[in-house]
Every structure is written in structure tokens, then in C-alpha cells.
Symmetry: D2
């Protein structure tokens, strides 16, 4: 039983491979009469798109979203919405080596073990290209959240060990790293350049904030809001950790320090990250995701081949230095999808 | 659309409240002809049970698991297995105060906002008592994993800021804190006593290891093994963070440091925590969960009442100093449930 | 992947066997603050209960519904509602023969082939006793439908080849066969007595009508209202056919005869049975279910044993002459469950 | 919560409208390494395609299936398979009238009531064009069933009140009506011509047989094989009734007549239609579906407009005289999809 669908009411099913015809998503459960056009996708797709800054892969993709179904005269109809993004600038030649050997840190090994064969061109299904479909679906989710005033922003909190010292949300969209701290941004850029020169890659931490989310989202005891957010974020390639509110730091607090006291003006603090008992409490939702350095590096590495024999692999493809910053809109999209789903789920309880 | 079911093939649906008749679980999808008796549940239920050490709540529960359905002549039949654990020593009086005010850090506020009323006796549905049903279900999941050699162990890695310096798995079951380091155990016990005396509570970090898991578990791109583990663990009350393998530390590594090179003897390192591309790679699966200090403390705190007016609450119930160590078998159970589910899911692909 | 759950938003999971501890159901997704008490179940449970008329099995069951979870101070809480009906008057001795041979027309053969062993006492999981849980769940579904004015009634349209010639709904609850036609009732009773004397059994056809259902229920293209009703009804043991509105007769009409013309007063006719394009049209929903004669007869029949050898089986248990009339409240329950589910599903689209 | 997905393990999600870009399906859960190419779809798509006989709509569609994802070097990969069928010969002009009025017998009225607006061009989502995606998915399901020897055949049992008197399966594919009886075929053709001349339409009954299906398919108590088949078939537009084995006739039999006695050579009869207790018994699976006459007729009919005012509608589009014979491959496809799904589900129980 495969796992390419996510969400219960606002339910997305993604498909497609890096070097196939394209990637896409079918959205079932989107309410009718929401305005939707191909233009709506342009900004977020541009933010995720490869080739838009000097740190990313040189692959060039227009990433135009086609609406194949579910929209009539500019409005959603309640029927499944199909979004499709064609692959254009895919060069499969460098990947022929994967017919023989597995790249360390990639899905090559596990896909082969699981499926017996796999589309290795550009990483096929486990390529980060798959996230283009998530971003497209996130745009539709955003359309559902907009009227109730929910706003989501993600940014680079840490990159290559360099942490933003201040959070200036206005600065986030003004730099290619989506970093909220101008000083840190400069140092992050230097670290990126250095890593690129060394043929290496960097990890990082992103933070996501959702404001305007009413109390009541989340369905205990398994589909708690934090549980669904954790799954949504951990399902993104390269993410190895996720935390809500104080997160791992909370483990070091005492109850008297960690409890958010309640006042007539709302919560005095927000250690909880906006979620109590698995249900949104009306405060800002805050989560952080840790991304490992992307495994594609241009150094020769030890590995084995499909027959289990020792081998060396040096991969000359096109890839990013870090999952950040391109993963920023993907994180936003996944959070939007979870919130839109829980908004619609809540309606069945009222 | 409520969220009290978890798993796709091995699917559990839990029910019950802290001070109602009891808590339980229906397991649908368990293969037939697996031996199962009430005795099988005794060890894990004892490990989770309140009142078994000096740090826990003084509530005494026998936690005997009744098998209400699905077993015939000692073997599962393929029909739903219903497990029920009666509540016995429930004292609801201290909770009457919750008819008026919300305890900071608890689900009181959000349950009221979401449902309009709620069973506040002992925390009702959001009580940690709910996890007894998870532990029971985990025992059945363990029966599925046993024949293929999967073994799961969890332990207290950190408590009240004190971290285990060494991992001696043999020591884990020999101390009430499930800590793998004798020296750290002593300091943790002191911290627990101190917190109890201060009417305060402590957070901590647990680590879970699964060995013997074959390559191939996990269903990209959403039901990746790490994504499902993250959800399973985050759905446990008090958990605020989860990480796989190197986790948040991976964010500070370079690709050349983080990639696990592959040799003819397997992976040279295990930064990945046994999961690549969302699929188990045959190596040990490692995850960590961060628990906040439990919100129940015996100090007076600021809050509001149901009418939104300022109030103070000082709660005299019975509760633990920390979610650890009692949460250890719960973590193990959730990991077992995820692995059993993915083991059965994999069969449909072969 | 087992199939003991039904419904998407109002989701029931049933469990239990005929001669085990009891049968029950967990209902997840029931909105909060609906009044619910054990008394609510008495009328429908009584209608389904064995031993209430001279045609049924002499088994005596009190069929008291216990509410194990999900209700607090008389109101549903939004948490899973667990209903449990204990088995009391179960006599397993006559079933020992099933350790060796399969009864024709029963699930004995297929359960053994599928699961390798099975709880044969009283039919175990495939006993009609399982439907007690459906009736209990139907009571809760009815509580959701009541405020919007949906009313469901089922009756015996045909029994042993004798068809009701007139539909007098007031008479339905006044006779033990739930037949709407006094004259036909008398002849049906005679047929029942005759069959009982001959050690044989009878089939029949029931009709279900739902009035007050607003337009808009049903989710194309697979969860159409008629598709979900067909599944719900066909999932009841002994049902071999289901039809909506004109049903099989529609196959003989021309379009000009079958189309329900629309007027300012609504539909002129109701060949459609209240469903168009898989969505309720506001008119009365009408369906019919065909029940085979129950396979338990007291004549000796040819069969084989577990080793595949020729055998004869003459079964002396306790059983009904026909699935009707006891199946009437079960049909009503399944229709209620489908309608309640679609009512809640519709909320997510608005 | 919308309903455009079907199946649990072999899970299809269809999308698309009659006059939009096209119709398609994403199949999740198809095992890897099954050979699949665009040529595989040609025969079944041709059988369903409009414009292939003198009785069908004159719409001409090539119905070429594009594989957008999930296949690599001629083999399925385990990733979602996306099949897309472009619309080519779509003429939306005749449908402009639906902006104002509802056609009797169609989904116009209910779609408008449910969604507030709808894509009325060619019936949009409720057009029978949607079934092209089902047929395409059925081809993939067939690839899963082929190696285990399951064969499915459907045919026209009755059309316009004329019933096949004999079942000659060899004749089925030799006549455009897929009728197994040469004599009846001729009379059916005459009835079709007559109806066409009268601007009217005809209903009919189709029968589906699946041979080679092993015992064990079906998941009680809700996902019984007959229950899932009933839903699958009833979800096809124009189907108003479905029956298994003896079906409605079984209601008139006595138990002693209806029970299929078991011998060392298998079942003596097949009143059960191959399903006992909701599980396949190894015998031939037989079901029948009743189709209403398609509602599109070229006569003027009474109706109302969107404002609820009296109106008349005479529709000049392009449409078939009967759902039969074009629905034959759709029925086969839905049965294949159910059987493939249950075949894969059974694997999780073993």
C-alpha cells in the first residue's frame, strides 16, 4: 500500500519523476467556487525553482503550472484539481552511472532494495523535483486559508552552522537565502560559496510561523496538529528533525518555566508553539525543521554496486549546495496543506 | 473527521478516557494465527503502569488487559482484536476545578475551544492514560515483528538537563528511569527528587533504537518511514520534537561528513539513522524524542476561566514529575506499530 | 488490510464474535454535544433482538448497550464513542461439528480458506450477531440526522415470494414482520410457519425509504450516495442484490418514461429514487435489498470436510427462518450511517 | 471530503471533465516491475471509445492513453502511475443552455445544488467520459490479475427489454452490442434503431463473470468482496441496481434450493455467485448491473431553471442511445480494479 497521498479532507496525491514527463498533483476535497488561475502559482513556483540564484543547480525549469482539471470559468468546481508541471531541462546522461552503483546518502540503495529497479534519472521519484507538486498544492491550500486570515512564513534560521541572530521578517524576501538577519545572511552566503568551491554541501535549519490560525485545529489522539505537521515536514527529503515551539529546548525546562500562563490578553509566552493537547490554541504556530546537507557532492566516495561489490562514485550532475533556501516554499506549502486540511476537518465537528 | 486511528494495514483505533470505564484499542488488520493471550501484555503494561516507582503518580492501576475479540483458542483470527483496560483507581474530585478554569500547559483550554465541553476528569481523552491502549497495541505489533527479528529498545537519554554519557543497554531495564548510564541515573534521580520537592516537573529526551529491520520499509513520498515515525512519536502527549539519526546535528555537518559511505560490510556510519529516501536501509533505526516537562505542577499559576476572566489555579491531583520514564514503553509501542504496519504494507509491493 | 471500518467522517469500526465476550463498535467522528444515553438504544436493539417473535431463533439476549467511552454528562464529547453489547445466552456446543466440516451456504468454507482457522462458535465474526453493533451505531447516526429532519423507515416488501400489495407505513411497526400490507402479512406468516415445519428457510426483499434528506449528499465519482448505500447494504450478510429507485425495472424503461421531469413543485416522479448523478436530489431516497434464504436449515446436506473429503452435515443450532424481519433495523441503521457520514462530509465543501 | 479515489491498496484517483483538457487517473499502490506500455491500453480503450458503432454518439475521440509517470524502461516502478487521455473532439456549444436550465434525469440539478456552479460542458465531471479513466486503470489492474489466472468478461444480458436467451461467450466480441446470443442481438439492434429514430433511449442489464479467482478475496465485515463490487459497479453512472449470483431471484428461493452443496469436485451449483460470507469461494464470480436508459433524449421535456421557474428543455447534443454496449469495458474495468485491490490486500494477511 503506497503512500503518495496526504491529508484527509484536503487530500493531495502527487506523482511524477525528475526526468519523466513532469511532476503533478491531484487535489481532492477542495471546496468549490474558489478563484484559481495559472497566474496564482507563479510567485511560489518561482521561489522554489532551480536556477534562480547563484547557489542553486544550474538546471533551468520554467515551472509553469498547468491546470488539467477541476476549474471552470476561473473557479474551482469541487471536482479534483489536477496540476501539472512539465520537465523541460532534464539531462539524464550523468545518471547512467546509477545503473551500476549507489550514491551514499541518496535513495539509490533503498529504492533498489525495495522495488528491484528504479527510475534513477535525476533521482526519479525521490528527486527534490517532486516538491514542485507540493508547492503547487500549497498555493491551493493557501487560497482556502486566506479568507480566515491564516498567514504562513518560513525562513532560514541556520545554515552551515551560522544562525540568524535576529528575526526581521521584512528582510526574508529581500535576500536569496530567505534569511531574516542581514548580518547572518552575508556569512551564510560566504559559507555557501566556500562549500561550493570545496565540492561539498551544507545543512541548515528553517523556521515556519503561522499566524491567524484559530483555536481548534487538530484531531486527537493521532491526527494531532503537531503530529500531522511533523509528518508533513519530515516527509520532505533531507529533513531529519522537526520540533514545535520550544522543541528540544523544552526538554531542559522545568514545568514552571515551560507552561504558558494564560491571561485575559491571551498566552503570556509561547513555549507551546501554538499547540496544546494536539490542538491549535489560537497563538502563533511555530515549528523548526533540520535539513541534512544534501548528499550530492562532487567528491569521490566509497560505495558498492548492485552486485554488492566495492566501488567508488564521483558524481557530476547539477545540484544545489544546500536544500535551503529552495526548500523554504516547500515547508510553507506543507504547513498550508496541513492547516487547510484541519480547517476543513474541523467543520465536520461543528 | 476525527483522528483516533493510526496505521494503514495494521490499523489501531483507540478509545477511552482517564476516569471513564477504561481505555482500549481495536486493532484491525492483524494477520491470523498469531498466538496471543492476556499474559503477553503483562510485562509492557507493568513498565508503563502508574504507581510503580517513587517518582510516579500515586494512582494505582492493575492495568490488566482484557481481550474482548479477535482471538480464538489462543490464536488471532484475522478479525478485529479489541483490548480493554479498565480504570480502577480513578479519583475525579480534584478535577472539579476544571469546570471553571484552564490549567496552563494542558489541553483544557483547547479542548474547551474545540468541543465546547469536555471530560475533564483526569484529563479525559488527553490524559496520558490513553497511552495504555497504545502500549497494549504495541504488544501485538511486536508479535508481528518478532519472527522477522526486529527488536526495539528505548531509553532515557536525557532528563532534567542531565544526559547519559554512555549507552549501556544492559543497564536500561535495571533502573527505574530506563537510563543506560549508571552515573547519570543517580544524578537524574536526584533531579527528580528535587523537582518533586519544589512542586515542579522535568522534561527529557528519549532515544529509540530498532535493530533487525530489513531494507525496504517506508512508502514515499508521504508515508516515508521517517515521516510516519515522526507522526507516531509526536502524537504522544508532551513530545515537542523528534529527530532521526544525526537529526538536528545533521544541520551542522557538511555532506562529506554526513553521507554514510557504503562498504561490502554495510554502511560505515549511521548518520542517517537507518533511513534513506524515506525507506529503511537495513541499518539500525535511531530516533530521539524531546518531552516537555509535564504541565501538572503543584504551584499556583495564572490563567483564565471559561468566561475569559483572570483566575489562579493550583492543582492538587496525582501526577508524575516527568513523562519519562513511563513514556519509554509508549515510545517503543509506537515504533513497533509503525514498523509492523510498514512490514505488512511492503508485502503488497512484492 | 482488513475491512472492519465504514464511513469517512462518521466512521465506525465494529468488532466481536457471536460467542465471544460480545460485539461492539467504536464510532470516531461523531460531533460533540449530542445527547446520548443507554436508553436511546433500547427501541432499535429490541427490534433486532433474537427471541422476540415466534419465527426467530430461540436464543435470548438482553442486548443492553454499554457506553464505554465518548460520552460525558450525557453528551458526546467528540472523542470516540465505544458501544458494547455483551453475549449472554450463547451455546457453542452445536457448533463443534464445524471443527470438521463446512456448512453449505455459510462462511465456514471461505473463512477457513482465507484465515486457516476461525472462530466457528455461532458463526463467530460472520454471525448475524455482528449486526447488533451496526444497529447500535445507527442509533448514534440517527441522532445526527434528527435535527435536519431526515427520517428512515424500512419494511418487508416481499417474503417467501409473497409481495406486499400496498404500502401502509402505519402498519409496519404493528406486525412482527414489519410488513406494510395486512393481507400480505398473514400469508407471509403462514409461509414462515410452513418453512419452519419443513426445516427450511425463506428469502425476501426489504425496502428502505429516507425522507427529508436535503439535496447535495454524495461525493462523485466513487463515493456517490448510491454507491455508498449499495456497499453499506451489500455488506450485510444474506443480501445478494440492491437497487435504487426503479432499479432493475429501469432497465426496461425508455428514457422518456424514466426521466423524472422537474416542476416548480419538485420532481413529478421518482424513478431515480432520490439520487441523480450520485447526489441526493431532495426527493425521497428509495432502495431495495434482496436477501437470500438464510443458509441454516435443519436438513442434512452434502458437503466436504477440512481435508476435502465428502461429508454430510445436519445442523441443529438455533436460527431464524428468514433474515427478515430482524434485518429491518439493520438496514435502517446502515442507511442512517451512510447519510450521517455524507451529511458531515458535505460540510467540508461549504 | 470528496470521493474521487477508490481501492485501498491498488488505489485509483480519477480526475478530469468531458470538455476540459482531458480525463485521467493516478494509480498508487501498483507493484513494481510489471510491464506497461501505451499499446496495452489500445484494445480496451477502443471498446469503450465513442464513435465506433452506428448506435453511439458521433463524437470522435482517439482516446490514446499517455503514461505521465510511474513507468521506467517499460516497467512499473512502484511510484504512482498517471494515465492521461486528452479530449479532442469536444463541442461545448450545445451545452450553453445548461447555464439556465436543468436536464431531467441528469446530474445538472444536483451538481448545481451541491456545488453552486459546475462545469456543464458535456456534463463536465459527471459525463460518462469520466469512465475512460476507469477503463485505463482497469488495464493496469488486469496486468496484476493476469499472472494468477483471473479472467473477466462482461456482456449485454438484456437491452430494451430483450434478453439474451443463451450465453455464447465466443460471440460476445463478435457483435457491437457485446451480446452473447446472436438471435437476441438482432432484435436488440432493431430496438436500438427504433429508439434512435424516436429520439428516445434504452436501458439494459449487463452480466460480468470472473473466473480463476482464488478463494480468500474479501475483507469482512464491510469490505466484503460483494460489498466492494456493489459499490464499484453502482458508482458507474446510469447503474441503478446490482446483484450477485442468484441476486433478486434468491429472495424467492428456499434455503434448501439456494444453498450450493459442496462436493469433492467443488460447488455443485453457484447460486452464491462465487462469494460466501463476503469472501470469494474459488468458484466463478457472477454479478449483474441494471442500467437505466440514458437521460439524454432529443424530446422536449419539462424542467425548471436555476431560479426555480418552469422551463422546457430540448437538448441537441451528441449522445448514445443506451449506456450499453459502451459500458461493458467499464464494468470489466471496475471488477478488475476490485479484484486486484483484494488480491493485494490478501497478501497482508498471509
Amino acid at each position: 500500500m503506497a503512500g503518495n497521498s496526504f491529508g484527509e479532507v484536503f487530500r493531495i496525491t502527487t506523482f511524477g519523476e525528475s526526468h519523466g514527463d513532469g511532476v503533478g498533483v491531484v487535489i481532492d476535497g477542495c471546496p468549490p467556487r474558489i478563484s484559481l488561475s495559472t497566474e496564482d502559482f507563479v510567485p511560489d513556483m518561482a521561489r522554489r525553482r532551480p536556477g534562480t540564484d547563484s547557489f542553486g543547480t544550474p538546471r533551468r525549469e520554467e515551472d509553469k503550472v498547468e491546470i488539467l482539471s477541476g476549474v471552470f470559468e476561473g473557479l474551482t468546481t469541487g471536482a479534483p484539481i489536477t496540476l501539472f508541471i512539465r520537465n523541460q531541462d532534464a539531462d539524464s546522461k550523468p545518471y547512467e552511472v546509477l545503473r551500476a552503483v549507489f550514491r551514499p546518502g541518496h535513495g539509490d540503495y533503498t529504492y533498489f532494495k525495495k522495488y528491484g529497479h528504479f527510475d534513477f534519472r535525476g533521482g526519479g521519484r525521490y528527486s527534490s523535483r517532486e516538491t514542485a507538486a507540493r508547492v503547487a498544492a500549497g498555493v491551493v491550500a493557501g487560497k482556502i486559508l486566506e479568507p480566515i486570515g491564516v498567514k504562513i512564513v518560513a525562513y532560514t534560521l541556520e545554515l552551515g552552522g551560522i544562525r540568524a541572530g535576529s528575526i526581521n521578517l521584512d528582510f526574508v524576501e529581500k535576500n536569496p537565502l530567505y534569511c531574516p538577519d542581514p548580518a547572518a545572511t552575508k556569512r551564510m552566503e560566504e559559507a555557501m560559496s566556500r562549500a561550493r568551491k570545496e565540492g561539498d554541501s551544507l545543512g541548515g535549519i528553517a523556521e515556519v510561523r503561522a499566524t491567524g490560525c484559530p483555536a481548534g485545529f487538530g484531531e486527537p489522539v493521532f491526527d494531532k496538529l503537531d503530529a500531522d505537521l511533523a509528518k508533513a515536514v519530515m516527509s520532505i527529503g533531507t529533513v531529519k528533525g522537526v520540533e514545535i515551539g520550544a522543541g528540544f529546548e523544552a526538554a531542559r525546562f522545568k514545568g514552571s518555566e515551560n507552561n504558558d500562563l494564560i491571561t485575559t490578553d491571551g498566552f503570556q509566552t509561547n513555549q507551546a508553539g501554538g499547540i496544546l493537547g494536539g490542538i491549535s490554541n489560537g497563538d502563533e504556530i511555530i515549528l523548526r525543521a533540520a535539513m541534512k546537507p544534501i548528499p550530492s557532492i562532487s567528491r569521490e566516495q566509497d560505495t558498492v554496486d548492485r552486485q554488492g561489490r566495492s566501488a567508488r562514485v564521483k558524481f557530476i550532475g547539477r545540484f544545489d549546495v544546500a536544500a535551503l533556501p529552495r526548500i523554504i516554499p516547500v515547508l510553507e506549502a506543507m504547513v498550508k496543506i496541513v492547516l487547510a486540511d484541519h480547517y476543513l476537518r474541523l467543520k465536520t465537528m461543528r
